[in-house]
């Protein structure tokens, strides 16, 4: 009788251990998947955030916050949902950043210490250096990117979001709508307006 009890408890222990091992393996697998996803998306996300806030350090902070929030709150969600979720978190972060900047500037102005927005951001100094090109080609590419970056930054917020998520990140309409928290129809409208505005601004001989 006693040996039966011991066998039974050993069995429970073994099942419990197997379950824990299995859960641990699943968690590790999940972590690896998330690591791959973040590694794949982080550089584009940084440039998207940087174009929005025109400050690399702030953009790095925003991307890191978005990564942490995704890992903390949504790691268990299906992998296919991560991209729209990640960009939704990032876009919310960018919007909050703009709101805080606005309030901060109002506070500064109220106290007589007004700042001049973000106009002192040097696009050229922060532009990445394209590698493996002649100096002329580098310059041409760099200038074209600077013009594009400034023009995208100057778009209304929603148009900018739609354009960057669709063109730069390559999200489809449904994914962009999920990331922006709006309907697919709105995404199409914002996107179409953004492309028209950019083409008008940059001209036919832009590149």
């Amino acid at each position: 009788m006693e040996s039966c009890r011991m066998n039974a408890s050993a069995g429970v222990f073994a099942v419990s251990c197997t379950r824990e091992q299995s859960t641990g393996a699943m968690a590790l697998q999940r972590e690896q998947q998330l690591n791959r996803f973040l590694a794949e998306v982080e550089r584009r996300a940084l440039r998207i955030a940087e174009i929005s806030v025109r400050n690399r350090d702030e953009a790095l902070d925003l991307v890191q916050d978005a990564m942490i929030k995704l890992a903390r709150n949504y790691a268990e969600r299906p992998e296919g949902e991560w991209a729209p979720l990640f960009y939704r978190i990032l876009q919310n972060g960018v919007r909050d950043w703009h709101r805080r900047q606005k309030v901060r500037n109002r506070v500064m102005v109220w106290f007589g210490r007004g700042t001049t927005d973000d106009d002192d951001y040097d696009v050229a100094a922060n532009a990445p250096d394209p590698a493996g090109r002649t100096p002329e080609a580098e310059l041409q590419t760099s200038e074209a990117m600077q013009r594009l970056e400034v023009s995208v930054h100057e778009l209304p917020n929603r148009q900018r979001e739609a354009f960057m998520l669709r063109t730069f990140e390559g999200l489809d309409v449904a994914g962009t709508a999920a990331a922006m928290g709006c309907s697919e129809g709105s995404v199409k409208t914002h996107y179409s307006r953004a492309v028209h505005t950019l083409r008008d601004k940059l001209g036919d001989h832009w590149q």
Partner: protein, 121 residues
């Protein structure tokens, strides 16, 4: 012939991708660190971000707003572009507490003192 709209999008995407490829090593390193920090957070379930600072943030927000309201010069009913209580709440919300580390913010508080003393005196 290619649709000009499509051509524009492809050019924009190409330029953007090149700028992504051209990110410097220091930036990539910071991204890498950020990713690992996020993965560490994933291993620590149930951690409420800034949770322990929330009560302090609330008290601080109320104190700052009260101090400013009480120190306004007598007879001032309205000011141009007033800074509202919600502005301060936003600035002092839990995730903005790092702002308190800015010396700029402390100098701003000093400026309030100097300005209100100046008005009263």
């Amino acid at each position: 012939m290619k649709d000009p709209g499509k051509q524009f999008e492809e050019q924009a995407k190409e330029l953007f991708d090149e700028s992504v490829e051209g990110l410097d090593a220091a930036t990539l390193s910071r991204l890498n660190q950020g990713r690992h920090k996020a993965l560490e957070e994933m291993r620590r379930p149930g951690v409420v971000p800034w949770g322990r600072w929330a009560p302090a943030a609330g008290v601080l927000a109320v104190a700052v707003v009260a101090a400013i309201v009480m120190r306004l010069p007598a007879g001032v009913d309205a000011i141009d572009d007033p800074v509202t209580a919600s502005d301060f709440e936003m600035l002092l919300e839990a995730e903005s507490l790092e702002m308190l580390e800015d010396l700029e913010f402390y100098s701003l508080l000093d400026a309030v003192d100097a300005e209100t003393n100046g008005h009263v005196g």
